[in-house]
């Protein structure tokens, strides 16, 4: 990437951020709701992208962690506690449960792991539904208040959207830092070749558990934002299909790419909305669109970009080789 390219990228990034702040100002409530939902789902998908995309640990439980976070927030804030406390509890709780859920990953991988986590997700749903004393069961918890942030009430859609966007920004920065640190490299090592990683002193056990725990904690953060967003939660949205949706977001966006979840969540949240005009056909069309996208680029949307960049890289590498070659040929 040339210096020029770098400036372009920074400029593009700033433009997108500015657009995310300015454009929604005159959106209606619905538009803001959808955008807030996008921000929340992006956070959850980012967590899964860490676990799955970077560390290569398939998880079908991210939806359950969103649920745990949401219930933590709902229960606590309806009792009058501030959301920030609930957020803390959600993070700690999901981190701990995620850590424990990581243990099976030390023994099994791939589809086996997928199904252990799927089982967990089903269990979590059953607990949400059956433990009325805590979660109000199938009737759900209503009247979840929206928080005051730095003295600003976020009851109105726009302030709440900014709250979600701000949270997304913080999470993104933290994630960016994590990914480019040696930890990020170790997570990738886990995905690419755990046997070799282990023999290089990389404590795969600890990193696996970390990948699960951090990814799950982000699920919890998303959940803690989801509860005040909808202001009512019941167990149904946190069933397996949320986990599958999140998985779809990660893969469709481009698993293992930093910006994958942003795009994946956009597809999963916004595309159905754009297709609504087709009435009864919209989900069918959505499914077809997802399939077409994957047919076109099985590595997700960012896979397309990656392919393009890889081509440029190989061109550069090819040039490098040509230089080596001519040097050798001119040598005696």
């Amino acid at each position: 990437m040339t210096i020029n390219g770098k400036y372009w990228r920074i400029a593009l990034g700033l433009a997108v951020i500015a657009a995310l702040i300015i454009v929604p100002m005159n959106f209606n409530r619905y538009g803001l709701y959808i955008l807030s939902q996008w921000a929340v789902m992006t956070i959850a998908a980012m967590g899964l992208n860490l676990t799955l995309g970077y560390a290569g640990q398939v998880s079908l439980a991210q939806g359950a962690f969103v649920g745990i976070g949401a219930y933590a927030a709902a229960i606590m804030t309806t009792q009058g506690m501030p959301l920030i406390a609930a957020l803390g509890v959600a993070i700690v709780l999901c981190f701990a449960i995620g850590w424990i859920l990581g243990y099976p990953a030390l023994r099994v991988q791939h589809h086996y792991l997928a199904f252990v986590t799927l089982a967990f997700s089903t269990l979590a749903f059953l607990v949400f539904r059956n433990e009325d004393w805590l979660t109000k069961g199938i009737y759900g918890i209503s009247g979840i208040p929206r928080p005051n942030v730095l003295g600003f009430a976020t009851n109105r859609p726009l302030p709440f959207y900014y709250f979600c966007l701000g949270s997304l920004a913080i999470v993104s920065l933290a994630m960016w830092w994590l990914i480019r640190s040696p930890w990020g490299r170790a997570f990738v090592a886990l995905r690419e070749n755990p046997v070799r990683a282990l023999s290089l002193g990389i404590d795969t056990r600890r990193y696996t558990l970390m990948a699960f725990a951090i990814g799950s904690a982000l699920g919890g953060v998303a959940g803690a934002l989801y509860a005040p967003l909808t202001q009512y939660i019941d167990p149904v949205p946190f069933n397996l299909s949320l986990s599958l949706d999140l998985l779809m977001m990660v893969i469709v966006g481009g698993s293992g790419f930093f910006f994958g979840p942003f795009l994946g969540a956009m597809i999963a949240v916004l595309l159905p909305e754009w297709l609504r005009f087709t009435q009864g056909y919209y989900l069918m069309l959505y499914a077809i669109a997802v399939m077409l996208l994957l047919i076109y680029s099985p590595t997700g949307i960012l896979g397309i970009l990656d392919r393009y960049l890889a081509e440029r890289r190989t061109k550069a590498a090819s040039a490098l080789r040509a230089v080596t070659k001519s040097r050798l040929e001119t040598a005696p």
Binding site: V58, P104, R107, V108, H110, H111, Y112, F115, V116, A119, F120, T122, L123, L126, R129, N130, V195, L240, L244, L247, M248, I251, V252, S255, G280, Y281, L283, M284, Y286, A287, I288, V290, M291, L294, I295, Y296, P298, T299, G300
Partner: protein, 291 residues
């Protein structure tokens, strides 16, 4: 005690259904290392194809034949060409996700073009009951069990005893090398998906009279069967039988003796325990690699 026997028999009947669907998962894994999240919908769809043919005025037997042919075309050939071909090279996940989308697509299409309502489906097995050990068992369940066993035996023979079977497995395990030694890889993959399509059509024919034809029936069925396949041993077709029957029985016993509210939890706990202590499943083969 008599109660227990009742539950066992009922569990086996349900388990046979799971087994029959689970075979598809194990087959696809063993012969193409793919996971089809739409397998439940694959079992749901042929019944609707047959119903559609019947609505057009055709007799049942003709509907069966056309239904099977359509399944081969759509769920075999079409699936292979449109989804499997572009994605197979990119590992398990993209295809798995694509099949999730496919599952949504099939469900929505059935709902949109047929109906959101459940409809009854004629049975090719006479609808009577027989008495075994004093327990009442429906002939339909026996039919399902018989077919499941026959399919597993047949497929096991095919995969382990014939050259075609070895070629199919070779294709799954290392397609590049398979190609190098002259295995017609494309044909093997197609064959895999055609066999799967044929199986789901048969399964649909036998299961739908019990489960009813409904756009959403694939969800429950697919998930239960998937768990059965993992519990039984994902990389061996015979695992489907063991897993299916076990899950069926455990589910029934759990509902009777644990708690109906947490009924669904028991197979899950069983799944976790089995995977952790015997990762390859009951009848699976451990995956060993030397380094």
């Amino acid at each position: 005690m008599s109660n227990l026997l009742d539950l066992l028999v009922a569990g086996l009947a349900t388990g046979a259904i799971y087994a029959l669907v689970a075979v598809g998962f194990t087959l696809l894994w063993q012969t193409s290392q793919t996971i089809n999240f739409a397998q439940g919908e694959f079992v749901m769809l042929p019944a609707f194809l047959m119903l559609a043919v019947m609505h057009a005025g055709a007799p049942f037997w003709l509907a069966i034949i056309l239904g099977i042919l359509l399944s081969l075309l759509l769920l075999g050939l079409g699936f292979k060409l449109l989804l499997v071909d572009p994605m197979l090279r990119h590992g398990v996940l993209p295809l798995a996700i694509a099949t999730m989308a496919l599952a949504i697509g099939i469900k929505e299409a059935v709902k949109q073009f047929f109906s959101a309502e459940a409809s009854p489906f004629p049975s090719i097995v006479p609808a009577g009951d027989v008495s075994i050990l004093g327990r009442v068992v429906s002939l339909q369940s026996l039919g399902v069990l018989a077919l499941a066993i026959a399919v597993v035996i047949g497929l096991t023979m095919l995969l382990n005893r014939t050259s075609i079977g070895h070629q199919m497995q070779a294709t799954a395990q290392n397609p590049t090398v398979a190609r190098i030694i002259g295995v017609p890889v494309e044909r093997m993959i197609l064959l895999t998906f055609l066999i799967n399509a044929f199986l789901v059509a048969l399964a649909s024919l036998l299961i739908t009279p019990i489960y009813l034809a409904k756009f959403s029936s694939g969800e429950v069925l697919g998930q239960a069967a998937f768990i059965a396949a993992i519990v039984g041993g994902f990389n061996q077709v015979r695992g489907a039988i063991a897993g299916g029957l076990l899950i069926g029985v455990v589910d029934n016993l759990a509902a009777a003796y644990v708690s109906t509210q947490y009924r669904a939890a028991v197979p899950m706990v069983l799944l976790i325990v089995i995977i952790l202590f015997r990762p390859q499943g009951l009848l699976g083969r451990p995956e060993e690699r030397t380094v």
